[in-house]
Amino acid sequence: MNGIGRVYAAINRLPSDRFPRGELVVDKQFIKEFMKKETKRDNYPEPVEEDLEMEIEFYHRLGLDLVCVHDTEPMHHSGDLCFKLDYIRRFNAEGFFVFLVLNGVFQTLVNQAGFTNFMKNIARWPQQVGEELQKLSQKISEHIRKGLPDGVHGIIIADDIAFNRGTYVAPEFIQKYLLPCWQNQVNSAREQRIPVFLHSDGNINAVLPIIVEAGFDGLQCIEPAAGMNFKEVKQKYGKYLCLMGNIDPALLYGNGANNSFGCASDDPHVQKHNFPELARAVNELIAMAAPDGGFIFGTCSGLHAGLSTEKVKFMYELVRNI
Protein backbone atom coordinates (compact mmCIF):
# COMPACT_ATOMS: atom_id res chain seq x y z
CA MET A 1 0.00 0.00 0.00
CA ASN A 2 1.34 3.46 -0.79
CA GLY A 3 0.58 6.89 0.64
CA ILE A 4 -2.31 7.47 -1.73
CA GLY A 5 -4.03 4.28 -0.60
CA ARG A 6 -3.39 4.99 3.07
CA VAL A 7 -4.82 8.50 3.01
CA TYR A 8 -7.91 7.37 1.10
CA ALA A 9 -8.31 4.55 3.61
CA ALA A 10 -8.07 7.01 6.51
CA ILE A 11 -10.65 9.33 4.97
CA ASN A 12 -13.04 6.50 4.16
CA ARG A 13 -12.38 4.52 7.36
CA LEU A 14 -11.19 1.51 5.35
CA PRO A 15 -8.65 -1.03 6.57
CA SER A 16 -5.03 -0.12 5.98
CA ASP A 17 -1.54 -1.38 6.87
CA ARG A 18 -0.99 1.67 9.15
CA PHE A 19 -2.18 5.23 9.74
CA PRO A 20 -0.82 7.82 7.30
CA ARG A 21 1.51 10.72 8.16
CA GLY A 22 1.63 14.15 6.64
CA GLU A 23 2.44 17.81 7.11
CA LEU A 24 0.40 20.85 6.06
CA VAL A 25 3.52 22.62 4.92
CA VAL A 26 7.23 21.90 4.88
CA ASP A 27 9.37 24.85 4.02
CA LYS A 28 12.31 24.50 1.68
CA GLN A 29 14.74 25.89 4.19
CA PHE A 30 13.82 23.21 6.68
CA ILE A 31 14.21 20.49 4.05
CA LYS A 32 17.59 21.84 3.15
CA GLU A 33 18.83 21.96 6.76
CA PHE A 34 17.52 18.47 7.39
CA MET A 35 19.04 16.95 4.26
CA LYS A 36 22.38 18.63 4.85
CA LYS A 37 22.65 16.96 8.24
CA GLU A 38 21.33 13.65 6.99
CA THR A 39 23.51 13.24 3.96
CA LYS A 40 26.49 15.31 5.15
CA ARG A 41 26.27 16.80 1.71
CA ASP A 42 26.66 20.52 1.42
CA ASN A 43 26.35 21.07 -2.27
CA TYR A 44 22.61 21.24 -2.76
CA PRO A 45 21.95 23.69 -5.55
CA GLU A 46 20.82 27.24 -4.86
CA PRO A 47 18.12 28.32 -5.00
CA VAL A 48 16.76 25.36 -3.07
CA GLU A 49 13.31 26.01 -4.52
CA GLU A 50 14.36 24.15 -7.61
CA ASP A 51 15.50 20.92 -6.04
CA LEU A 52 12.51 18.64 -6.46
CA GLU A 53 14.60 15.50 -6.09
CA MET A 54 15.89 16.61 -2.71
CA GLU A 55 12.30 17.20 -1.61
CA ILE A 56 11.19 13.78 -2.70
CA GLU A 57 14.08 12.14 -0.89
CA PHE A 58 13.18 14.14 2.21
CA TYR A 59 9.53 13.01 2.16
CA HIS A 60 10.62 9.39 1.74
CA ARG A 61 13.18 9.61 4.52
CA LEU A 62 10.65 10.93 7.00
CA GLY A 63 8.16 8.33 5.85
CA LEU A 64 5.45 10.82 4.91
CA ASP A 65 2.43 9.64 2.95
CA LEU A 66 1.15 12.92 1.66
CA VAL A 67 2.42 16.16 0.23
CA CYS A 68 0.65 19.52 0.41
CA VAL A 69 1.12 21.68 -2.64
CA HIS A 70 0.38 25.37 -2.11
CA ASP A 71 -0.88 27.98 -4.51
CA THR A 72 2.40 29.69 -5.39
CA GLU A 73 0.77 33.06 -5.96
CA PRO A 74 -2.39 33.26 -3.90
CA MET A 75 -2.71 36.99 -4.59
CA HIS A 76 -2.26 36.64 -8.34
CA HIS A 77 -4.08 39.48 -10.13
CA SER A 78 -5.79 37.26 -12.68
CA GLY A 79 -7.28 35.26 -9.82
CA ASP A 80 -6.00 32.06 -11.41
CA LEU A 81 -4.51 29.36 -9.29
CA CYS A 82 -0.79 28.76 -9.77
CA PHE A 83 0.63 25.37 -9.01
CA LYS A 84 3.83 23.68 -9.97
CA LEU A 85 2.40 21.00 -12.21
CA ASP A 86 5.64 19.09 -12.61
CA TYR A 87 5.85 18.76 -8.81
CA ILE A 88 2.32 17.44 -8.59
CA ARG A 89 2.98 14.86 -11.27
CA ARG A 90 6.19 13.66 -9.65
CA PHE A 91 4.74 13.44 -6.14
CA ASN A 92 1.86 11.46 -7.56
CA ALA A 93 4.17 9.12 -9.42
CA GLU A 94 6.09 8.54 -6.19
CA GLY A 95 2.92 7.32 -4.52
CA PHE A 96 2.25 10.38 -2.33
CA PHE A 97 -1.30 11.56 -1.79
CA VAL A 98 -1.34 15.13 -3.09
CA PHE A 99 -3.39 17.80 -1.33
CA LEU A 100 -3.81 21.19 -2.98
CA VAL A 101 -3.92 23.91 -0.34
CA LEU A 102 -6.20 26.78 -1.32
CA ASN A 103 -6.74 29.90 0.72
CA GLY A 104 -10.38 30.06 1.71
CA VAL A 105 -12.55 33.17 1.46
CA PHE A 106 -11.93 34.37 5.00
CA GLN A 107 -8.18 34.04 4.64
CA THR A 108 -8.20 35.72 1.24
CA LEU A 109 -10.04 38.78 2.53
CA VAL A 110 -7.77 38.96 5.59
CA ASN A 111 -4.80 39.05 3.22
CA GLN A 112 -6.40 41.59 0.91
CA ALA A 113 -7.75 44.06 3.47
CA GLY A 114 -5.25 43.54 6.27
CA PHE A 115 -6.32 41.83 9.47
CA THR A 116 -7.49 44.81 11.51
CA ASN A 117 -9.37 46.42 8.64
CA PHE A 118 -11.09 43.18 7.85
CA MET A 119 -12.10 42.71 11.49
CA LYS A 120 -13.45 46.24 11.62
CA ASN A 121 -15.38 45.77 8.40
CA ILE A 122 -17.07 42.69 9.77
CA ALA A 123 -18.02 44.49 12.98
CA ARG A 124 -19.37 47.44 11.00
CA TRP A 125 -20.92 45.96 7.89
CA PRO A 126 -21.35 42.22 8.40
CA GLN A 127 -23.80 41.85 5.56
CA GLN A 128 -21.61 43.55 2.96
CA VAL A 129 -18.61 41.50 4.01
CA GLY A 130 -20.79 38.41 3.91
CA GLU A 131 -21.74 39.19 0.33
CA GLU A 132 -18.13 39.72 -0.61
CA LEU A 133 -17.28 36.35 0.86
CA GLN A 134 -20.00 34.70 -1.23
CA LYS A 135 -18.73 36.30 -4.42
CA LEU A 136 -15.22 35.16 -3.76
CA SER A 137 -16.43 31.71 -2.91
CA GLN A 138 -18.09 31.41 -6.33
CA LYS A 139 -14.68 31.93 -7.86
CA ILE A 140 -13.02 29.28 -5.74
CA SER A 141 -15.81 26.83 -6.46
CA GLU A 142 -15.52 27.55 -10.18
CA HIS A 143 -11.82 26.80 -10.06
CA ILE A 144 -12.56 23.50 -8.43
CA ARG A 145 -15.32 22.72 -10.94
CA LYS A 146 -13.15 23.61 -13.92
CA GLY A 147 -11.01 20.72 -12.88
CA LEU A 148 -7.87 20.46 -10.84
CA PRO A 149 -4.49 19.44 -12.20
CA ASP A 150 -3.98 15.75 -12.87
CA GLY A 151 -2.45 13.97 -9.92
CA VAL A 152 -4.29 15.97 -7.27
CA HIS A 153 -6.17 13.77 -4.81
CA GLY A 154 -7.57 16.17 -2.24
CA ILE A 155 -8.03 19.80 -1.26
CA ILE A 156 -7.30 21.64 1.97
CA ILE A 157 -9.17 24.92 2.37
CA ALA A 158 -7.03 27.13 4.60
CA ASP A 159 -9.19 29.59 6.52
CA ASP A 160 -7.64 30.78 9.78
CA ILE A 161 -10.77 31.80 11.62
CA ALA A 162 -9.55 31.56 15.20
CA PHE A 163 -6.86 32.29 17.75
CA ASN A 164 -6.29 31.15 21.30
CA ARG A 165 -9.38 32.73 22.77
CA GLY A 166 -11.73 31.41 20.13
CA THR A 167 -13.01 32.51 16.75
CA TYR A 168 -12.13 36.01 15.60
CA VAL A 169 -15.77 36.67 14.75
CA ALA A 170 -19.05 35.51 16.25
CA PRO A 171 -20.03 31.92 15.42
CA GLU A 172 -23.32 33.38 14.14
CA PHE A 173 -21.38 35.21 11.43
CA ILE A 174 -19.61 32.00 10.50
CA GLN A 175 -22.90 30.12 10.39
CA LYS A 176 -24.62 32.74 8.30
CA TYR A 177 -21.92 33.73 5.85
CA LEU A 178 -19.03 31.30 5.89
CA LEU A 179 -21.01 28.07 6.04
CA PRO A 180 -22.68 28.58 2.63
CA CYS A 181 -19.27 29.35 1.11
CA TRP A 182 -17.76 26.19 2.54
CA GLN A 183 -20.75 24.13 1.45
CA ASN A 184 -20.41 25.49 -2.04
CA GLN A 185 -16.73 24.61 -2.20
CA VAL A 186 -17.24 21.15 -0.73
CA ASN A 187 -20.04 20.43 -3.18
CA SER A 188 -18.01 21.37 -6.20
CA ALA A 189 -15.20 19.11 -5.02
CA ARG A 190 -17.69 16.30 -4.39
CA GLU A 191 -18.72 16.49 -8.03
CA GLN A 192 -15.12 15.66 -8.88
CA ARG A 193 -15.02 13.01 -6.14
CA ILE A 194 -12.30 14.93 -4.37
CA PRO A 195 -12.19 14.99 -0.56
CA VAL A 196 -11.89 18.37 1.14
CA PHE A 197 -10.31 19.22 4.50
CA LEU A 198 -10.47 22.48 6.41
CA HIS A 199 -7.42 23.99 8.09
CA SER A 200 -7.75 26.51 10.88
CA ASP A 201 -5.43 27.40 13.71
CA GLY A 202 -6.79 28.40 17.05
CA ASN A 203 -9.67 27.39 19.26
CA ILE A 204 -12.55 26.41 16.98
CA ASN A 205 -14.58 24.36 19.45
CA ALA A 206 -17.57 26.66 19.15
CA VAL A 207 -17.86 26.15 15.40
CA LEU A 208 -17.08 22.44 15.03
CA PRO A 209 -20.76 21.64 14.39
CA ILE A 210 -20.73 24.21 11.56
CA ILE A 211 -17.62 22.61 10.09
CA VAL A 212 -19.31 19.23 10.14
CA GLU A 213 -22.45 20.74 8.60
CA ALA A 214 -20.36 22.15 5.77
CA GLY A 215 -19.58 18.59 4.79
CA PHE A 216 -15.79 18.66 5.11
CA ASP A 217 -14.14 15.24 5.00
CA GLY A 218 -11.40 16.22 7.39
CA LEU A 219 -9.96 18.83 9.70
CA GLN A 220 -6.31 19.81 9.98
CA CYS A 221 -4.54 21.43 12.97
CA ILE A 222 -6.59 20.92 16.17
CA GLU A 223 -4.14 23.15 17.99
CA PRO A 224 -3.52 21.94 21.56
CA ALA A 225 -1.83 25.20 22.54
CA ALA A 226 -5.10 26.97 21.77
CA GLY A 227 -7.03 24.63 24.03
CA MET A 228 -8.23 22.12 21.40
CA ASN A 229 -8.60 18.66 22.91
CA PHE A 230 -8.02 15.98 20.29
CA LYS A 231 -9.74 13.28 22.29
CA GLU A 232 -12.92 15.28 22.69
CA VAL A 233 -12.97 16.31 19.05
CA LYS A 234 -12.52 12.70 18.00
CA GLN A 235 -15.22 11.45 20.32
CA LYS A 236 -17.76 13.98 19.16
CA TYR A 237 -16.90 14.45 15.51
CA GLY A 238 -14.51 11.63 14.55
CA LYS A 239 -17.35 9.92 12.72
CA TYR A 240 -17.64 12.81 10.31
CA LEU A 241 -14.15 14.26 10.15
CA CYS A 242 -10.81 12.63 9.45
CA LEU A 243 -8.49 14.38 11.90
CA MET A 244 -5.04 15.51 10.84
CA GLY A 245 -2.55 16.77 13.43
CA ASN A 246 -1.91 17.62 16.20
CA ILE A 247 1.64 17.68 17.57
CA ASP A 248 2.35 21.10 19.10
CA PRO A 249 5.24 22.78 17.24
CA ALA A 250 6.46 24.10 20.60
CA LEU A 251 7.63 20.53 21.27
CA LEU A 252 9.94 20.68 18.30
CA TYR A 253 11.89 23.85 19.00
CA GLY A 254 15.43 23.90 20.29
CA ASN A 255 17.34 20.85 21.38
CA GLY A 256 15.83 20.40 24.75
CA ALA A 257 18.47 22.16 26.78
CA ASN A 258 18.22 25.76 25.72
CA ASN A 259 14.50 25.88 25.29
CA SER A 260 13.00 23.62 27.81
CA PHE A 261 9.44 24.83 27.82
CA GLY A 262 6.67 25.21 25.35
CA CYS A 263 4.21 27.98 25.16
CA ALA A 264 0.51 28.25 25.24
CA SER A 265 -1.91 30.76 26.62
CA ASP A 266 -2.78 30.14 30.24
CA ASP A 267 -3.52 26.56 29.34
CA PRO A 268 -2.48 23.90 31.85
CA HIS A 269 -1.13 21.90 28.91
CA VAL A 270 2.06 23.92 29.06
CA GLN A 271 4.94 22.29 30.80
CA LYS A 272 8.45 21.13 30.23
CA HIS A 273 9.06 20.09 26.66
CA ASN A 274 12.03 18.04 25.63
CA PHE A 275 12.62 14.69 23.97
CA PRO A 276 10.86 12.54 26.57
CA GLU A 277 8.05 15.04 26.55
CA LEU A 278 7.85 14.83 22.78
CA ALA A 279 7.87 11.05 22.92
CA ARG A 280 5.06 11.09 25.43
CA ALA A 281 2.96 13.47 23.34
CA VAL A 282 3.45 11.33 20.24
CA ASN A 283 2.63 8.08 22.03
CA GLU A 284 -0.43 9.54 23.68
CA LEU A 285 -1.74 10.98 20.46
CA ILE A 286 -1.33 7.76 18.56
CA ALA A 287 -2.80 5.57 21.28
CA MET A 288 -5.86 7.76 21.30
CA ALA A 289 -6.20 8.65 17.64
CA ALA A 290 -5.10 5.66 15.60
CA PRO A 291 -7.70 3.03 16.62
CA ASP A 292 -10.63 2.96 14.20
CA GLY A 293 -8.87 5.06 11.56
CA GLY A 294 -9.88 8.51 10.44
CA PHE A 295 -6.52 9.90 11.52
CA ILE A 296 -3.47 11.38 9.82
CA PHE A 297 -0.43 11.99 12.02
CA GLY A 298 1.47 15.27 11.77
CA THR A 299 2.21 18.58 13.46
CA CYS A 300 -0.31 21.40 13.73
CA SER A 301 1.41 23.95 11.60
CA GLY A 302 3.99 22.10 9.54
CA LEU A 303 7.77 21.99 9.53
CA HIS A 304 9.52 25.35 9.44
CA ALA A 305 13.07 26.56 9.47
CA GLY A 306 14.07 27.02 13.10
CA LEU A 307 12.53 23.76 14.29
CA SER A 308 15.08 21.25 15.53
CA THR A 309 15.85 18.79 12.73
CA GLU A 310 16.88 16.25 15.39
CA LYS A 311 13.55 16.43 17.13
CA VAL A 312 11.61 16.14 13.90
CA LYS A 313 13.67 13.12 12.90
CA PHE A 314 13.25 11.60 16.35
CA MET A 315 9.50 12.10 16.16
CA TYR A 316 9.08 10.45 12.78
CA GLU A 317 11.37 7.54 13.73
CA LEU A 318 9.29 7.01 16.80
CA VAL A 319 6.10 7.00 14.75
CA ARG A 320 7.60 4.52 12.33
CA ASN A 321 8.44 2.12 15.15
CA ILE A 322 5.04 2.20 16.78
Binding site: A123, R124, G166, T167, A225, F261, G262, A264, S265
Partner: protein
Amino acid sequence: MTSLTQAISDLNENLAMELVKHRLESGYKPLDIVEECRNGMIAVGERYSRGEYFLGDLVLSAEIFHELMQLLAPGFRDDEVKKVSGRIVFGTVEGDIHDIGKNITIALLRCYGFEVYDLGVNVPSDKFVGCLKETDANILCLSSLLSSCFDSLKRTVQQVRLFDKQGKIKILIGGLVNEKVCEYTGADYWVTDARKGITICQQWNGVL
Protein backbone atom coordinates in the same frame (compact mmCIF):
# COMPACT_ATOMS: atom_id res chain seq x y z
CA MET B 1 -25.04 54.64 32.07
CA THR B 2 -25.31 57.86 30.03
CA SER B 3 -26.65 57.74 26.49
CA LEU B 4 -23.16 58.40 25.12
CA THR B 5 -21.59 55.64 27.20
CA GLN B 6 -24.37 53.32 26.05
CA ALA B 7 -23.90 54.27 22.38
CA ILE B 8 -20.20 53.41 22.57
CA SER B 9 -20.92 50.24 24.47
CA ASP B 10 -23.32 49.29 21.63
CA LEU B 11 -20.71 50.29 19.01
CA ASN B 12 -23.22 52.71 17.57
CA GLU B 13 -20.74 54.95 15.84
CA ASN B 14 -23.13 57.48 14.31
CA LEU B 15 -25.13 57.98 17.45
CA ALA B 16 -21.96 58.40 19.51
CA MET B 17 -20.68 61.08 17.10
CA GLU B 18 -24.02 62.89 17.22
CA LEU B 19 -24.10 62.83 20.99
CA VAL B 20 -20.56 64.17 21.31
CA LYS B 21 -21.29 67.01 18.89
CA HIS B 22 -24.50 67.80 20.74
CA ARG B 23 -22.74 67.85 24.10
CA LEU B 24 -20.04 70.17 22.78
CA GLU B 25 -22.69 72.53 21.42
CA SER B 26 -24.49 72.47 24.75
CA GLY B 27 -21.32 73.55 26.55
CA TYR B 28 -20.29 70.34 28.30
CA LYS B 29 -16.64 70.26 29.37
CA PRO B 30 -14.60 68.15 26.92
CA LEU B 31 -12.94 66.28 29.76
CA ASP B 32 -16.30 65.18 31.13
CA ILE B 33 -17.22 63.92 27.69
CA VAL B 34 -13.94 61.98 27.57
CA GLU B 35 -14.91 60.33 30.85
CA GLU B 36 -18.21 59.18 29.34
CA CYS B 37 -16.32 57.82 26.34
CA ARG B 38 -13.89 55.92 28.56
CA ASN B 39 -16.78 54.38 30.44
CA GLY B 40 -18.15 53.26 27.09
CA MET B 41 -14.82 51.58 26.33
CA ILE B 42 -14.86 49.86 29.70
CA ALA B 43 -18.32 48.52 28.91
CA VAL B 44 -17.07 47.21 25.54
CA GLY B 45 -14.18 45.49 27.29
CA GLU B 46 -16.56 43.81 29.71
CA ARG B 47 -18.76 42.60 26.88
CA TYR B 48 -15.66 41.19 25.17
CA SER B 49 -14.58 39.43 28.37
CA ARG B 50 -18.06 37.92 28.68
CA GLY B 51 -17.78 36.53 25.15
CA GLU B 52 -20.57 38.75 23.86
CA TYR B 53 -18.18 40.74 21.68
CA PHE B 54 -15.41 39.45 19.43
CA LEU B 55 -12.05 40.75 18.33
CA GLY B 56 -13.49 42.84 15.49
CA ASP B 57 -15.75 44.62 17.96
CA LEU B 58 -12.77 45.47 20.12
CA VAL B 59 -10.90 46.87 17.13
CA LEU B 60 -13.95 48.86 16.07
CA SER B 61 -14.40 50.31 19.55
CA ALA B 62 -10.83 51.62 19.48
CA GLU B 63 -11.52 53.27 16.14
CA ILE B 64 -14.75 54.87 17.34
CA PHE B 65 -12.97 56.17 20.43
CA HIS B 66 -10.23 57.61 18.29
CA GLU B 67 -12.76 59.41 16.08
CA LEU B 68 -14.53 60.86 19.09
CA MET B 69 -11.25 62.12 20.49
CA GLN B 70 -10.60 63.91 17.20
CA LEU B 71 -13.88 65.72 17.64
CA LEU B 72 -12.97 66.67 21.18
CA ALA B 73 -9.33 67.61 20.68
CA PRO B 74 -9.86 71.28 19.68
CA GLY B 75 -11.74 71.86 22.93
CA PHE B 76 -8.91 70.72 25.21
CA ARG B 77 -6.94 73.37 27.03
CA ASP B 78 -3.17 72.94 26.89
CA ASP B 79 -2.83 71.80 30.48
CA GLU B 80 -5.52 69.18 29.92
CA VAL B 81 -3.87 67.69 26.86
CA LYS B 82 -0.82 66.72 28.87
CA LYS B 83 -2.86 64.61 31.23
CA VAL B 84 -1.64 61.20 30.14
CA SER B 85 -1.87 57.92 32.01
CA GLY B 86 1.78 57.17 31.36
CA ARG B 87 4.40 56.47 28.73
CA ILE B 88 4.95 53.05 27.27
CA VAL B 89 7.49 51.62 24.85
CA PHE B 90 6.01 48.70 22.91
CA GLY B 91 7.32 46.28 20.30
CA THR B 92 7.47 42.69 19.05
CA VAL B 93 10.79 41.09 19.94
CA GLU B 94 13.61 40.21 17.57
CA GLY B 95 12.91 37.25 15.30
CA ASP B 96 9.14 37.63 15.54
CA ILE B 97 6.94 39.53 13.09
CA HIS B 98 3.50 38.87 14.59
CA ASP B 99 1.89 42.24 15.25
CA ILE B 100 -1.87 41.88 15.19
CA GLY B 101 -2.19 41.51 18.96
CA LYS B 102 0.39 44.21 19.57
CA ASN B 103 -1.46 46.69 17.36
CA ILE B 104 -4.79 46.03 19.01
CA THR B 105 -3.27 46.42 22.46
CA ILE B 106 -1.60 49.69 21.47
CA ALA B 107 -4.83 51.11 20.05
CA LEU B 108 -6.60 50.28 23.30
CA LEU B 109 -3.79 51.63 25.50
CA ARG B 110 -4.05 54.92 23.62
CA CYS B 111 -7.80 54.99 24.25
CA TYR B 112 -6.99 54.74 27.93
CA GLY B 113 -4.77 57.77 27.77
CA PHE B 114 -1.34 56.16 27.49
CA GLU B 115 1.30 57.64 25.25
CA VAL B 116 2.70 54.65 23.36
CA TYR B 117 5.90 54.50 21.34
CA ASP B 118 5.43 51.68 18.84
CA LEU B 119 8.77 50.26 17.67
CA GLY B 120 7.16 47.76 15.31
CA VAL B 121 8.21 44.14 14.85
CA ASN B 122 11.47 42.18 14.94
CA VAL B 123 12.94 44.76 17.32
CA PRO B 124 16.48 44.13 18.64
CA SER B 125 17.03 44.58 22.37
CA ASP B 126 19.28 47.63 22.06
CA LYS B 127 16.57 49.48 20.17
CA PHE B 128 14.20 48.99 23.09
CA VAL B 129 16.85 50.26 25.48
CA GLY B 130 17.55 53.28 23.27
CA CYS B 131 13.90 54.22 23.10
CA LEU B 132 13.39 53.82 26.86
CA LYS B 133 16.30 56.19 27.45
CA GLU B 134 15.01 58.76 24.99
CA THR B 135 11.41 58.79 26.11
CA ASP B 136 11.81 58.24 29.82
CA ALA B 137 8.93 55.76 29.64
CA ASN B 138 8.44 53.67 32.75
CA ILE B 139 6.70 50.68 31.16
CA LEU B 140 8.06 48.35 28.51
CA CYS B 141 5.58 46.09 26.69
CA LEU B 142 6.96 43.17 24.72
CA SER B 143 4.97 40.93 22.42
CA SER B 144 6.05 37.46 21.31
CA LEU B 145 4.15 34.58 19.74
CA LEU B 146 7.01 32.26 18.84
CA SER B 147 8.59 29.76 21.23
CA SER B 148 11.83 30.26 19.34
CA CYS B 149 11.88 33.92 20.42
CA PHE B 150 11.79 33.46 24.18
CA ASP B 151 15.52 33.98 24.24
CA SER B 152 15.15 37.37 22.56
CA LEU B 153 12.57 38.23 25.19
CA LYS B 154 15.00 37.24 27.90
CA ARG B 155 17.87 39.15 26.30
CA THR B 156 15.77 42.28 26.06
CA VAL B 157 14.67 42.06 29.70
CA GLN B 158 18.29 41.54 30.80
CA GLN B 159 19.58 44.52 28.85
CA VAL B 160 16.86 46.78 30.19
CA ARG B 161 17.59 45.71 33.77
CA LEU B 162 21.26 46.41 33.18
CA PHE B 163 20.66 50.03 32.27
CA ASP B 164 17.72 50.59 34.62
CA LYS B 165 19.77 50.27 37.81
CA GLN B 166 17.10 51.88 40.00
CA GLY B 167 14.45 49.47 38.86
CA LYS B 168 12.05 52.15 37.63
CA ILE B 169 10.95 50.31 34.51
CA LYS B 170 8.25 47.68 34.69
CA ILE B 171 8.19 45.03 31.98
CA LEU B 172 5.01 43.38 30.74
CA ILE B 173 5.07 40.55 28.21
CA GLY B 174 2.13 39.33 26.12
CA GLY B 175 1.17 37.07 23.23
CA LEU B 176 1.69 33.31 23.44
CA VAL B 177 3.41 33.42 26.80
CA ASN B 178 2.78 31.96 30.22
CA GLU B 179 4.02 31.88 33.80
CA LYS B 180 7.06 29.78 32.87
CA VAL B 181 8.07 32.16 30.11
CA CYS B 182 7.64 35.07 32.47
CA GLU B 183 9.92 33.40 35.00
CA TYR B 184 12.47 32.43 32.38
CA THR B 185 12.70 35.90 30.91
CA GLY B 186 12.57 37.78 34.21
CA ALA B 187 9.70 40.04 33.13
CA ASP B 188 7.48 41.55 35.80
CA TYR B 189 4.16 40.24 34.54
CA TRP B 190 2.59 38.32 31.66
CA VAL B 191 -0.80 38.45 29.96
CA THR B 192 -2.51 36.77 27.04
CA ASP B 193 -5.21 39.35 26.75
CA ALA B 194 -5.01 43.02 25.81
CA ARG B 195 -7.67 44.06 28.30
CA LYS B 196 -5.83 42.53 31.21
CA GLY B 197 -2.60 44.17 30.01
CA ILE B 198 -4.23 47.59 30.18
CA THR B 199 -5.40 46.98 33.72
CA ILE B 200 -1.87 46.00 34.73
CA CYS B 201 -0.39 49.17 33.19
CA GLN B 202 -3.03 51.26 34.94
CA GLN B 203 -2.24 49.61 38.24
CA TRP B 204 1.47 50.14 37.79
CA ASN B 205 0.92 53.83 37.14
CA GLY B 206 -1.61 54.30 39.89
CA VAL B 207 -4.43 55.33 37.55
CA LEU B 208 -6.73 52.57 38.74
